[in-house]
């Protein structure tokens, strides 16, 4: 009985997880194109005419992505043998890109975002030993609004 539940959970995790991931990537790619005109860069200083600067604002965006059961089992197996945990790579990638996009959304209307940083943390891993871990990525930076 336990075995059936396990198999079901893995199957659900695989199909639901793959579906959600594909959908998320489609949305990410589409929105990345929309915000392509807005540069988000890591440098602190840019050559901008001070007189033209209208407003400077802190902008941030965060995204929490949960792993699915299939990925967890796969990573667990990977834990035994070692090596790159490929199943977690897409999670981190999605979380960071989503956070960047949300930051850009918050900065809409600005000319650029400077001093962009991305941080990552886990959520809900210690609350319950068996709980599925979540990943949070937060991206923040300074949006500069320039007179046109």
């Amino acid at each position: 009985m336990d075995f059936i539940i396990l198999i079901t959970l893995i199957a659900i995790g695989y199909f639901a997880g793959t579906w959600a991931e594909k959908r998320h990537y489609r949305s990410i790619e589409q929105r990345e194109k929309t915000y392509l005109h807005l540069p988000a860069i890591t440098v602190k200083h840019v050559d901008v005419d001070d007189a033209k600067v209208q407003q400077v604002k802190l902008v941030y965006g965060s995204a929490v992505i949960s792993i699915d059961y299939f990925k967890r089992i796969l990573a667990g197996l990977r834990n035994i043998f070692g090596g790159t945990v490929k199943s977690y790579e897409t999670l981190i990638d999605r979380a960071r890109r989503e956070a960047l996009l949300r930051m850009k959304e918050m900065a809409s209307g600005s000319a650029m975002i400077v001093n962009v940083r991305i941080e990552t943390s886990t959520i809900g891993k210690k609350a319950h030993r068996k709980s599925v871990g979540c990943l949070e990525a937060i991206a923040y930076g300074t949006a500069i609004f320039i007179e046109k």
């Binding site: 695989y14 793959t18 990345e32 194109k33 392509l36 005109h37 540069p39 860069i41 299939f70 990925k71 089992i73 796969l74 197996l77 990977r78 035994i80 043998f81 790159t84 490929k86 199943s87 790579e89 897409t90 981190i92 990638d93 650029m112």
Partner: protein
């Protein structure tokens, strides 16, 4: 510096991979290792059994006794059975330890040979006994398991874990108790050849002790008669083919020239107590 709006062509952070292929590859590797360990443990049992010292065996036996909390409810009965076992042991081959009888209150009609010379006799078995010879045969049969070290082989792969837990953590560790509980002592299985060897051993001991082998087959006959009632189904699952065993016992005693004479009555302590219990 000019900013050019451009999307990266490839995603370097995500390895293009098939997660399902990965999953089955890793899973089969893990299963392979587990199966390998399982097979190795099987070999380890055959390796360990002849080399186990009596002291370590005592320790393993201690794990069992601790977790079963042998309820010697009627010391008189235990003493009587113990005396019988002592007499049988004198007549049988040398064992590196003294056999100790533990009476266990349970309707199960069985006796079990535990490591370290601890024989567990279930009260259900005593109730079924009609003569001393009959009881002696069952006890000698268990002694035969000790002589052939079947009691250790019967534990199977659990023996390896018990050995580790008993030597590392002593007899009353939680791990040992857990192991024993997962074993279910009453269902320890022996192979057919192990059983018939123990039977032959018991016949020889019985003959040496009483001068004849009367009563040896009584127990199995009784089991056969009660087969239909279903009460002893359990015994049948671990001790199959009783008719064949009776036939084998008869053949063996004929070939050895053993005779059958009148049976000794069961010691009054065993029967009396039983009657008072029934009241």
């Amino acid at each position: 510096m000019k900013y050019t709006a451009r999307l990266p062509e490839t995603n370097v952070n995500v390895t293009p991979t098939s997660p399902l292929r990965d999953f089955f590859l890793l899973l089969s590797a893990a299963i392979g290792i587990i199966v390998g360990i399982y097979l190795l443990l099987g070999l380890a049992v055959d390796f360990i059994v002849p080399r186990l010292s009596p002291e370590i065996e005592q320790k393993i036996g201690g794990v069992f006794l601790n977790s079963m909390a042998a309820s010697d409810t009627s010391p008189e009965k235990t003493k009587t059975v113990q005396m019988l076992v002592d007499r049988l042991q004198e007549q049988s081959t040398e064992l590196p330890y003294k056999l100790t009888v533990h009476l266990y209150d349970s309707p199960v009609v069985n006796a079990v040979a535990l490591p370290g010379g601890n024989i567990i006799v279930f009260s259900g078995l005593l109730e079924k006994m009609e003569s001393e010879n009959e009881l002696a045969f069952v006890l000698a049969h268990e002694t035969g398991h000790y002589a052939n070290k079947d009691h250790l082989r019967g534990l199977g792969r659990a023996l390896v874990f018990l050995l580790i837990s008993a030597t590392l953590f002593g007899p009353d560790s939680g791990i040992g108790n857990l192991l024993v509980q997962s074993l279910n002592v009453t269902e320890m299985g022996f192979s057919r050849s192990q059983e018939s060897h123990a039977d032959e051993f018991a016949l020889e001991v019985l003959n040496r002790c009483y001068g004849h082998v009367g009563g040896a087959t009584d127990f199995f006959k009784k089991l056969n008669a009660e087969k239909k009632t279903g009460r002893l189904k359990h015994y049948f699952s671990t001790h199959p083919e009783n008719l064949k065993r009776i036939a084998h016992l008869k053949n063996y005693s004929r070939s050895k020239g053993f005779t059958e004479k009148s049976l000794l009555k069961l010691s009054p302590t065993l029967t009396e107590k039983e009657q008072t219990e029934k009241k």
